[in-house]
């Protein structure tokens, strides 16, 4: 059952969150709930991104003593999506803030 491994579970979670978020955006009459839907949607996206970055059995891309600086490529997960997530989070924040402002 390969689908029970970490990356699959997290990416499914991500997808589910996205759908739930959209559901919230589309159906909720309460604006606050809509905004919450938005954040869920964003969160789902971020989870997906992180899942994409995951490389089986690897660790965070911080070259501390535990990782060392040699053969780094075999030890860490992909840092790029993580950097993107960082940006995306802030952007999501901006968007959400604006959405909520517009009420």
């Amino acid at each position: 059952m390969k689908y029970f491994s970490l990356e699959y579970i997290s990416i499914i979670t991500g997808f589910l969150l996205v759908v739930i978020g959209i559901w919230g955006i589309l159906t909720q009459k309460n604006i606050i709930k809509m905004i919450i839907g938005f954040t869920i949607f964003d969160t789902g996206l971020h989870v997906i991104m992180v899942s994409i970055a995951y490389v089986r059995g690897k660790t965070a891309p911080i070259l501390d003593d535990a990782v060392g600086i040699k053969d780094v490529a075999d030890k860490i997960v992909d840092p790029v999506p993580q950097a993107l997530v960082l940006t995306a989070i802030v952007i999501g924040l901006g968007v959400t803030a604006n959405v909520s402002l517009c009420n």
Binding site: V18, I22, F41, L45, M49, T87, V95, N98, V99, C102
Partner: protein, 1041 residues
């Protein structure tokens, strides 16, 4: 060279630095901002210049000193430079325009504004997908912020909708990007393109999400309710940026990344684009709110551009030109219109008539509207021309049709709007306030449309020889519009005369047919302009319009290729439209005139395009068509027939001609209609004599001509309005001409040309005379006139000669046409059509008599006792034309013989033979000269005879009539003129029941109804809009995968 990176640094530096200026005044902040935007503009301008002057290579700017894909890189190429210049330029102008608002809102708003521009610049420049995403968000948040600036409630709620929509779109884009990264291991767009993602299903979906998201950013129909709300409720200055700058930028993004998809995705884009274009313009028809209307238009235009991007691979090397001209046209016009919306400050387009008090703004408004629709000399004209040429060359005819349909819908509402502006009632006394800082941007943009149009013509095949000289002259005339009318009239006549002099003599040697029509156009133009001397005051806007029309007419004559022809044709339509709507109640008629003209022109365009695809752009190519020839000919014929007002397409004419000003009516009726005839001639020449017997089109056209003649004349008999009567008569006469040309024999053509010359002569006489009378008595209704012969004998004589010529009674030249016609018909064998036309010809007597009787004979009305003879300025041209009629009547051989020789080249058989002054065919013979002499002598003898008996006749007054022992009480009750042919109407009136009008009304109601129905998708609810977005994606997904 300043590196493009400094676009970012300067903008951001300024934005951040504004925080320091807390204590400084807002104005200074705004000035700093303007300086910064100016700097941005300068940077992009210098790059454009560098690329333009050649030698400059596309450069890459690596941030952080690393090569892509490892770091984000910006690319500055020619295209990027141009787009960025456009953005910054409109940003600068909008900044000036919004200056006061921004100052009032404070430095935060100023910072947001400059960041918006920066964001747009970066999304154009960047080559990194994620970077694109980030700055897309920057611009959408900035936009939302500026929307909220307009602190009205609906602005805030539309900002909310905007944020929800862009939020979802951004999320989908992000999803697409991250999966694209997953499949390619890169974030660089170039890598995406190289990676061929669509090979795998996941990759294809990633591409789908990316492209879909960018497409959704472009507000495709129908998932664009959020955007429309924004257009409607944002500040006009901001809407201008959203529409022109943001739209352009995101379009460029789409263009940039479209290549990541496969060929199918281009197809998909094209489909979605055209759906947007047609759908959005359809919905615009029902719209009343100015800004929302512009929103529809924007969305539509962008849809068209998306389509063009989708067709990028097909269009090949023409792509850049087409896309650029249409983008620029949209960009300039939309910015200008939105700014105008801000100046006018009226939501409802019906109230835009306030603009009329400012002629300058009015002209700008017209410029923008015509730019949007794609009239010459604006850039979009050339863009659309090329687009359609190329599409046709690749035989994508359905696309061509869809594009033109969409354009037509766009024309419907834009012209309606233009109509409201020019003719709507000005209810308020207050004139609109026009601050200088708001005019400047509009004016600059307006002027640019002309400039760009001028330059873009040189890039089109065949466009480099378009004669712009008349246009410059007209432009110059426009600037001296403050002069009194008679000065301008002299200038105009001189200009026309010179213009004629430049090409007519040469034409006489080369091509007699063209020479004849050229003389009609230019000579007739001069004559009718003489009548213009009657006008007092300034007569603003008249002369440029009239000259545009005549320049167009001259251009048609001179045209050597289809582009020139079409260019001139559209120019003529434009000028005549403006002329027509100058009339007091002519707006609805001018509107329908324009719609018919535009539709007809589009059909012509299709025809030209198909021809061009097969045989090249020259006009001669029409005769070298190899496939679909009949379809092409049919479309061209319909196109021309909209101008000749053949039955079915005629409903615009009566009103348009009748309600136009007195000296405009002869221009549009006697002269302008000949343009359609000329077009038909060109078409028929192309079809060739050999098609005469075989081609069903000719047969159909013959019947159409006959029916037109009948219906036109019959309807003319039942008119109460003198000018309308003449207008219907024109329809009938043009029916004859169409019929005669469709015969396609030597005689038929001679008939047609004779009719054309005659129609020009007498219709000009009649319209001038009646127009002048109308000026005096101030009514069109014939039954309100009467007995005017006593007051206006000269006008009466003119009309008398006019109607004798019209009805074809010998000895005047009308008979020449009839005689030729008979011979032609019998030799051709079109007996029944001929009989119908003949019947129509007799019906002409009905209206002729009605015209002259009801106006000049019968009882003089009390209120007209002191009216003066018609103005001398009308009499002069009228009598010049009458001399023409006389000469043509006495010696038709002088003109017809050389023409006969000229067209003998096309039709060698069955020619007309001239023996001295006697014309003869195999059927019969006739000598106009002798008939004239015999009748003259006879007339003199009889006159003497009667004079002998009646020399002592008592001249009596108007009521000295036998009245069964009673006396008439009033002239009104004694003048039989209303519903004159009642019995006839009872018998045959059913033939002229307005079926056709009803048909077109039904059509327009259907279109409007559809628009109204579809419009219900826009509920105004943000969640519904969001749902639309999702649905849109889902449906496309289901279709694609």
């Amino acid at each position: 060279m300043i590196s493009p990176i400094h676009i970012i640094t300067i903008a951001l530096g300024t934005a951040f630095a504004l925080g320091f200026t807390g204590k400084l005044s807002q104005k200074i902040s705004a000035f700093i901002m303007l300086a910064a935007v100016g700097m941005l503009t300068f940077i992009s301008a210098q790059w454009v210049y560098a690329f333009y002057s050649g030698g400059q290579e596309t450069i890459q700017i690596f941030t952080a000193g690393f090569k892509p894909p490892y770091s984000v890189n910006l690319q500055m190429g020619y295209q990027e430079a141009v787009i960025s210049l456009m953005i910054n330029f409109v940003g600068l102008l909008s900044g000036i325009y919004l200056f006061k608002t921004l100052v009032k809102q404070g430095k935060n708003a100023i910072a947001v504004y400059i960041i918006l521009l920066m964001g747009l610049n970066v999304i154009v420049l960047t080559q990194d997908m994620f970077n694109l995403f980030v700055f897309l968000e920057v611009q959408s948040i900035a936009t939302a912020g500026l929307i909220v600036l307009h602190k009205k409630k609906h602005a805030v709620s539309s900002g909310f909708k905007y944020m929800v929509a862009t939020g979802i779109i951004a999320g989908l884009l992000l999803l697409g990007i991250i999966f694209a990264y997953y499949f390619t291991g890169s974030l660089n767009i170039q890598d995406f393109i190289n990676a061929n993602m669509t090979a795998s299903k996941g990759g294809a979906i990633a591409v789908f999400l990316i492209l879909g998201a960018i497409l959704l950013e472009l507000k495709p129909f129908p998932a664009n309710g959020w955007a429309l709300d924004v257009y409607q409720s944002a500040k006009p200055g901001l809407s201008a940026i959203i529409s022109s700058a943001s739209g352009t930028a995101v379009l460029f993004v789409l263009y940039k990344i479209a290549a990541i998809g496969s060929f199918d995705s281009y197809d998909l884009l094209a489909n979605l684009g055209i759906i947007t274009f047609v759908g959005s313009n359809l919905l615009g028809i029902k719209q009343k709110n100015a800004q929302r209307l512009l929103g529809y238009s924007s969305v539509g235009q962008i849809g068209l551009l998306v389509m063009i991007i989708g067709f990028g691979p097909v269009l090949g090397d023409k792509f850049q030109f087409i896309a650029f001209t249409i983008v620029v046209a949209h960009f300039l016009a939309k910015a200008g219109l939105f700014w105008l919306a801000g100046i006018v400050k009226k939501d409802n387009i019906k109230k835009w008539s306030a603009l009329r008090k400012k002629p300058f703004l009015l002209v700008l408004f017209g410029t923008f509207v015509f730019t949007l629709i794609g009239f010459p000399p604006f850039p979009s004209f050339f863009g659309k021309w090329e687009l359609i040429m190329v599409l046709a060359a690749k035989s994508n005819m359905i696309w061509v049709a869809a594009i033109l349909l969409g354009s037509f819908f766009e024309g419907i509402y834009l012209f309606k709007w233009l109509g409201y502006v020019i003719k709507g009632e000005v209810s308020e006394k207050k004139t609109i306030k026009v601050p200088v800082h708001k005019i400047i941007p509009v004016a600059i943009v307006g002027i640019l449309t002309y400039v760009v149009g001028f330059f873009s013509s040189t890039f089109v095949e065949g466009g480099d020889i378009i004669n712009y000289l008349p246009l410059f002259f007209i432009a110059a005339l426009f600037f001296v519009d403050f002069l009194p009318a008679f000065v301008k009239n002299i200038i105009a006549i001189a200009g026309m005369a010179y213009y004629g002099y430049t090409f007519l003599p040469e034409l006489y040697e080369k091509d007699l047919l063209r020479f004849i029509f050229g003389t009609i156009f230019i000579g007739g133009g001069i004559l009718t302009l003489i009548a213009g001397f009657y006008a007092k005051g300034k007569r603003q806007g008249f002369y440029p319009a009239a000259l545009i029309m005549f320049a167009g007419l001259g251009g048609i004559i001179q045209a050597e290729n289809m582009l020139q022809f079409f260019f001139a044709w559209e120019l003529m339509t434009l000028g005549s439209y403006i002329l027509i709507i100058r009339g007091k109640r002519s707006m609805p008629h001018g509107y329908s005139y324009m719609l018919f003209s535009v539709a007809g022109a589009y059909l012509m365009l299709i025809g030209f395009a198909m021809t061009n695809a097969q045989a090249g752009i020259s006009l001669d190519a029409l005769s070298m068509i190899t496939s679909h020839a009949n379809l092409i000919y049919l479309m061209l014929a319909i196109g021309f027939m909209t101008k000749t007002a053949t039955v079915g397409l005629h409903i615009w004419l009566p009103g348009a001609h009748a309600e136009a000003e007195s000296d405009v009516s002869p221009m549009v009726s006697a002269i302008l209609l000949k343009a359609g005839v000329f077009g038909l001639i060109i078409l028929f020449i192309a079809m060739g004599a050999e098609s005469a017997g075989t081609n069903p089109i000719l047969y159909i056209l013959g019947w159409l001509g006959a029916i037109t003649a009948l219906v036109g004349n019959l309807a003319a008999s039942f008119q109460e309005d003198a000018k309308k009567l003449l207008a219907y008569s024109s329809i009938g006469q043009l029916g004859y001409i169409l019929f005669a040309f469709a015969i396609m024999t030597h005689l038929g053509w001679l008939t047609g040309i004779t009719y054309s010359i005659n129609h020009f002569l007498f219709k000009a006489v009649l319209f001038l005379a009646i127009g002048a009378v109308v000026l005096r008595v101030k009514t069109h209704k014939m039954y309100e006139m009467g007995g005017l012969i006593k007051r206006m004998p000269l006008a009466f004589i003119a009309v008398l000669i006019g109607i004798i010529t019209l009805s074809g009674v010998p000895p005047l030249s009308g008979f020449a046409g009839k005689w030729l016609f008979y011979n032609a018909v019998i030799l051709k064998g079109w007996y029944f059509q001929g009989a119908i036309v003949f019947f129509a010809g007799i019906i002409a007597f009905l209206y002729c008599f009605r015209l002259i009787y009801a106006v000049f004979l019968g009882q003089l009305k009390d209120e007209h006792r002191n009216v003066k003879e018609i103005s001398i300025w009308f009499i002069i041209p009228i009598y010049i034309l009458i001399i023409g009629i006389m000469i043509f009547s006495a010696r038709p051989d002088l003109i017809l013989q050389p023409i006969g020789d000229a067209i003998a080249g096309y039709f060698p058989s069955e020619t007309l033979n001239w023996n001295d002054t006697t014309a003869s065919t195999t059927l019969g013979y006739w000598s106009g000269y002798r008939v004239m002499i015999i009748i003259g002598i006879m007339f003199t003898i009889l006159f003497a005879w009667l004079a002998l008996f009646n020399r002592k006749s008592k001249k009596v007054k108007q009521f000295n009539i036998v009245y069964s022992g009673e006396r008439p009480e009033r002239p009104e009750t004694t003048h039989v003129a209303h519903n004159m042919y009642a019995g006839y109407n009872k018998a045959l009136g059913l033939l002229v029941a307005p079926f056709i009008t009803q048909f077109w009304n039904y059509m327009s109601e259907t279109v409007k109804g559809t628009a109204g129905f579809v419009r219900r998708v826009y509920t105004g609810n943000g969640q519904t809009y969001a749902l639309h977005i999702i649905m849109y994606l889902v449906i496309i997904y289901l279709i694609v995968f």
